[in-house]
């Protein structure tokens, strides 16, 4: 049995880097997909709206663990075997897309109706309304919940080991299997997650305060 020393701690820290990379990629791809879904949700076509709503409802009503398994085994069934990092990224992106789509749709709907009326009265087209008036304001509104969701994403990366990827959590478990010093190990692992998430949570709350301040006058 090994002792829990510096090499083990460094292994854990390096894996934290992978967790961050995974988070970044899933967030990036999920954002693009989420944006498309949000547009579909707001589109004039009944079928696009329904598809997007259905997709979002399903993803939000099942455990992230199932999203991971479904995308992994779903792709398997289609004959596509992805290496662990890509499998994890793909699954997490799907998870992210549904939640961000909801947040962003909510943000767009939060822009006051009067902004639509004022811009329409100035003869802007719908596309111009979105581009110059609605989206700039919606983006601002969406910042606090989007950053808040980023925290969820980081925490949810902790289960990607089920598709074979060695992230921060898995690294901790591997070291635990070798050293049986769970308390110290998971304190370190927890501390690292905390170090990543806590500043983001604070940022989200700060953004929310700034938003509320500027909205009430």
């Amino acid at each position: 049995m090994q002792t829990f020393g510096w090499p083990e701690a460094l292994f854990i820290l390096r894996s934290a880097g992978w967790t961050l990379a995974l988070t970044a990629i899933a967030f990036f791809i999920g954002s693009i997909l989420g944006g498309i879904l949000a547009i579909m949700r707001l589109s004039r076509s009944k079928w696009l709206r329904r598809f997007a709503s259905g997709y979002i409802l399903v993803i939000q009503s099942i455990p992230v663990l199932m999203v991971l398994f479904m995308s992994y085994y779903g792709l398997s069934a289609l004959g596509i075997e992805l290496p662990p990092f890509l499998a994890a990224s793909a699954s997490l992106s799907i998870y992210v897309s549904a939640y961000l789509a909801e947040i962003w749709r909510g943000s767009i709907e939060s822009v006051p109706r009067q902004q639509w009326e004022a811009s329409a009265s100035l003869a802007l087209t719908t596309a111009q309304q979105y581009r110059y008036i609605i989206l700039p304001q919606a983006v601002r509104i969406s910042l606090p919940p989007t950053v808040g969701f980023l925290v969820q994403l980081v925490k949810n990366t902790s289960i990607v080991q089920v598709v074979g990827f060695v992230d921060l959590m898995r690294a901790g478990m591997l070291v635990n299997n070798a050293t049986y010093q769970a308390f110290q190990i998971f304190t370190l692992v927890g501390a690292i997650y905390f170090a990543i998430c806590f500043p983001l949570s604070r940022l989200s709350r700060h953004l929310e305060k700034v938003m509320n301040a500027s909205r009430s006058h």
């Binding site: 009326e117 329409a120 100035l122 802007l124 087209t125 719908t126 111009q128 110059y132 500027s214 006058h217």
Partner: protein, 243 residues
Amino acid sequence: MPAVLIEDVHKRFGSLEVLKGVSLSVEPGQVIAIIGRSGSGKSTLLRCINGLETFHAGKIEVAGHTMTQDPKKLRELRKDVGIVFQSYNLFPHLTVGQNIMLSPRITKNVPDAEALRLAKEVLAQVGLSDKFDSYPDNLSGGQQQRVAIARSLAMKPKVMLFDEVTSALDPELTGEVLIVMEKLAKGGMTMLLVTHEMNFARTVADTTVFMHQGKIWESGPSKELFANPQTPELSNFVKAGAH
């Protein structure tokens, strides 16, 4: 050729009829005040004139356009009809100058330099030249409303609609807005104003229209109307004051 022609307009909200056959004709340069209780249909009528509200019977022609729901034609109509809202509705993420320049630039393709000149001109007209780079957040209600007027003026409209534009303002701030509106009226702008400012209606508007239960109950030259109401409803309304 009237600037605004409203013919027998009917409008329903679900099963509730809000406008029950309203007809009104406004000549260019005329200033019409529309008064009445809440629920009389006055704001609804005003908002029909620039297409923010639809109606199911009747006809509206304004500034040479016939009211339609066709988006392209509606936009052309809206270039000639300006509206100022009770809650100003300035774009909070743009400066005052940007608020004013936006539509001329992107809907009328006015070049940037010309748009800048135009914005400064209308801002001077409402007395806020020094606020060009300020954000709406940093202005008082009265100032924001004047910017809203300037924003509409920058489109060079033929008709201006004012929807209770002083109702949300603290009393000390209504004056500055009314002064701007009076200047506009004297300058020959065709104006329709829904208002609670009885004094303003009496002194600045050529004609006042009193609405009640979705119909035009009484209308006529302002001074005459206020001095000699012909119906008990108007009589009570005037006695009760603004509301």
